[in-house]
Each structure stands twice: as C-alpha cells, then as structure tokens.
Symmetry: C2
Amino acid sequence: MAGYYALPLELLAEQFAKLPGIGMKSAQRLAYFIISRPKEEVQAFADALLAAKRDIHFCPQCQNLTELELCPICADDKRDHGTICVVESPKDVTALERTGEYTGVYHVLHGLISPIDGITPDKLKMRELLSRIQKGSVKEVIMATNPTVEGDATAMYLAQLLEPLGVSVTRLAFGLPVGGTLEYADEVTLFRALENRTPLVQ
Amino acid sequence: MAGYYALPLELLAEQFAKLPGIGMKSAQRLAYFIISRPKEEVQAFADALLAAKRDIHFCPQCQNLTELELCPICADDKRDHGTICVVESPKDVTALERTGEYTGVYHVLHGLISPIDGITPDKLKMRELLSRIQKGSVKEVIMATNPTVEGDATAMYLAQLLEPLGVSVTRLAFGLPVGGTLEYADEVTLFRALENRTPLVQ
C-alpha cells in the first residue's frame, strides 16, 4: 500500500486481514469503521480481545475452553459422568448442548487425525481421554466426530484404543436429516440411512 | 446464547458481531481463531485498534484522516495547492492517488448530502472547504464525488456555493460507470475521468 494511507489505519487493516475470511479490502473497511466508533467502544473491543486470550484455558477434565477452574458441564454433579461424548471442537459441544437432550459429559479432541495435514494422534487430546477412562467410572464413550473421512478415522482409531479398557464405544447414528428429502440426500447418506434402518413397529 | 459458552469468548464474539458484514456465526469463528493465536499476536491486534483510534485525526486543511499534524499531501510543497479535488471519503483519496496523475490537493467531505438519511450540508466538512477557498489562492475545485444521485447533488450544491467566490468548479468526466463507486474504479478509467473533467457551471 502506498504512503497516502495513515499509518495506524494501515497497520490496523493488516491486523484485520490476518483473520480468516477477511481480505485486504474488507480489512480496510473494518479499519475505517473502527475509526468512526466512539473511543469507549474501541476500548471495549481491545479489552475483549485481551481478556479472551488471557482468561480462557482448557478445562482440566474435558479440555473444552473455559474461563473457570472446571468448565460448568464438568462441574455439574447432576450430569452423568459415566458417559463421555467425544467431539472435535468446542463448537460441537455447543451444537450438542443445544439439543437439550444429552445429560452426560464431553471430551474435546481439538482436531481430527489427518496425516496429510501433519495431525497425528499425539497432537490431539487423546492422552487426557485415556487417563479419564483409566480412572474406571466411565461406562460409555460416544464418538460424535463429524461424518467425514477424518472424523470416521479418528472415531475408529479411538474405538480400537478404548476397547481393551472394557468401556462401551458407540458412534452417532447417521441417516437422513430430519426435514430433509430423499431427492436431495447424497448417496453416502442414503446408503448409511438404508444400512442403519430400524424397525418401525416393534 | 446459552451458558455452555465460556463468557470471555461470548463477549469477544459480540464485539466482532458489531463490525459491518460480520454475523454472529462468523463472529464466533473469529473469537475461536483469536484464542488459537499466540499471546503476542492478540496483543498486537489490541494495540493496533487502540493506536488507530487514539492517533488518527482530521488533517486541519483537507480533513483527510492522518496521524500527523498535517497530512503528507497537504504538507507536500511540490503539489499544486491551487487545485482542490473534493471527495466523499478518505478511500476516494487513496483511489485517486493510485492513478499517480493528480498533483493537486484534496478536500474530504466525510459524506454526501442525503436529506433522507438526515445528512444536511452542515454535517459535512463544507465550511472548512469554503474557508480554504476564501483565503484566495485556490483557482480550481474539482468535484470528484461518486456519480450517484447524492454525489451529483452534493457537487451541484457546492458548485453553486463556490461560484460567487470566483473559483473555477469542474466535475470528473463521466468515464465512470454511472452507479459505480470511485473505490472500485480502475486506474485508467479514473485517470481519463480526471483528464476529461468539465466545467460544472458555465
């Protein structure tokens, strides 16, 4: 960029451009927007950035992100600590909690096995999951990784790792999305829906 | 949002969601991205935000944004201070400078007349333009507002205001696509538009 930009604006735009999905043009717009806001609002934004980075850490049990000593789900005595739902990321915990139906606890892997991207099992929070299960009170581990190649591979890898520990390992059911149509379902989903068909009248 | 979100993450996502063009879903992604960055990077982002807001002000002459006492263009003796190019926003100065052909100075209005949005002439930096011209050394004022209804109306309004002051008022040539914006015009189009500028009041 040439010198007719005010330097602090240019530097701010460069910071915005580092964010995923924000190009240089959008970054410049955002920088101009920041300049147009009251001082207190900009201060609040800067404070929120620093606070999030400073206060957020992994929950020592489930490895989800939290600002508390133990995350609210792990700290909740009313939840079933004998059932662990294994997910890829904190976003998945949010999605599952939104159903309001799951009463167990979670374990966040912070990634999926992907040798092409250099993500080997030791880079994920698997050791922490094993040590939770080795304590002995866990009865079931639900693999809730995404139905992708990496998600399936990670679920399979973990299942083989956990089997000798005498814990029941299950996988989320795959089939047609509720409200979806056969016409627009992809072949793999349809195949899985067929394979996992359930009796209608019991 | 429910309470299974870490509070500092939620607060950061809310700050991102205040930015134009960023919805709550993107804001959450950005908040997670911030958490994943090294502490120094987040600190640099926060510093850039505060520095931009703290150090940027209007140039006392052309009203463009600058961190210096006088913006680099107004401070440049080699430029023709007898020719003022009037634009809507700092982005337009950047676009015109990119042509590398304009040697005069600028005046940034910081908006266009738009009665529907409550933007009347007194809300724009017109008084500052008049006082620059009343000092007597300005020979030509080039109206380089966007070729839109508001841009044309603002140019016309200013032309009528400036005519009695004995200054020549011109308008960018309509090589610009009607309905487009200066910001996205290519250099050649902008240069032709500058070269073919025509008197607004004859």
